[in-house]
């Protein structure tokens, strides 16, 4: 499905993210979003994501975090995935450090419903033990893409 490939491809997957802490991780990932043309201002977007972080933690447990923010710097709803080189402190719900980060970018205007749907579907998948295990086990870009592909939306409206 070309829409999925457009949404998640090798350009928005980072294996071995070299970040010193949570803020550094979000900033470096924001810079990649800017380079990919998904957002127009990495610094501003980073501030908007940190604001969301200040409300409640996005460390959902299982060593996974899903920082996200609504920001007018976002050109199209998008996602960037990273596996960190080292565990990062994230005030997670289960108190565990984070190694897997899904940074979601959504614009303030109501647009890109297709992509919003994919973010929603991905969020649902994070509650699926099989999906989480496979994402944890995958350590190459192509393997990550394969997992996303395997769990893409198909029978959600049963």
């Amino acid at each position: 499905m070309s829409e999925t490939q457009d949404f998640i491809n090798e350009k928005n997957i980072i294996i071995g993210l070299d970040a010193t802490d949570k803020e550094d991780a979000i900033f470096k990932m924001s810079q990649v979003l800017e380079k990919n043309g998904d957002i127009c201002d990495a610094k501003k977007f980073y501030q908007d994501v940190l604001y969301r972080e200040s409300l409640t933690t996005t460390g959902i447990g299982n060593n996974i975090a899903i920082p996200h923010g609504k920001s007018d710097t976002v050109m199209q709803p998008s996602l960037i995935f990273a596996k960190s080189k080292r565990p990062l402190q994230w005030n997670s719900l289960d108190g565990q450090p984070v190694e897997i980060i899904f940074l979601m970018a959504v614009g303030t205007a109501d647009s890109g419903k297709e992509h919003l749907r994919m973010l929603a579907h991905l969020s649902g998948n994070l509650m699926n033990d099989d999906f989480v295990k496979q994402i944890k086990d995958a350590n190459k870009t192509q393997d990550i893409l394969d997992v996303f592909d395997e769990f893409k939306e198909d029978e959600d409206n049963e």
């Binding site: 969301r52 409300l55 409640t56 933690t57 996005t58 959902i60 447990g61 899903i66 996200h68 923010g69 609504k70 719900l93 289960d94 979601m104 959504v106 109501d110 419903k113 919003l116 749907r117 973010l119 929603a120 579907h121 969020s123 649902g124 998948n125 994070l126 509650m127 699926n128």
Partner: protein, 105 residues
């Protein structure tokens, strides 16, 4: 006897927690053998809107929300069990167990 649950999930940004909470409620309700229908109120608006019939027949209503529920008048006179989306994401089983306990009061 199988219980019927209806739920509404909604978070601040409407991007992630709304949908994680919905999936986790479904997962643990099914594990326990309960019927569940979940309406999401997120960035895409209201989806899988609950039918009034399902609301009327439900033993318990779960509001897994960090914000106000839209069209809350549909749940007037219903027994509502309220939790935050993060609690549901963290421990779906506890949310379902808590709701069932509330239904039996």
């Amino acid at each position: 006897m199988s219980k019927k649950i209806v739920a509404v999930t909604a978070c601040i940004a409407g991007i992630a927690h709304t949908y994680m909470a919905a999936e986790n409620l479904k997962k643990y309700a099914k594990k326990a053998g309960y019927e569940i229908k979940v309406e999401t109120q997120g960035a895409m608006g209201i989806e899988n809107q609950l039918k009034q019939k399902d609301i009327d027949e439900a033993d318990i209503v779960i509001f897994a929300v960090d914000t106000t529920v839209s069209k809350a008048e549909r749940f007037e006179n219903k027994n509502v069990f309220k939790v935050g989306t993060s609690e549901v994401v963290k421990n779906g089983k506890a949310a379902i167990d808590g709701a069932i306990a509330a239904a039996q009061q």
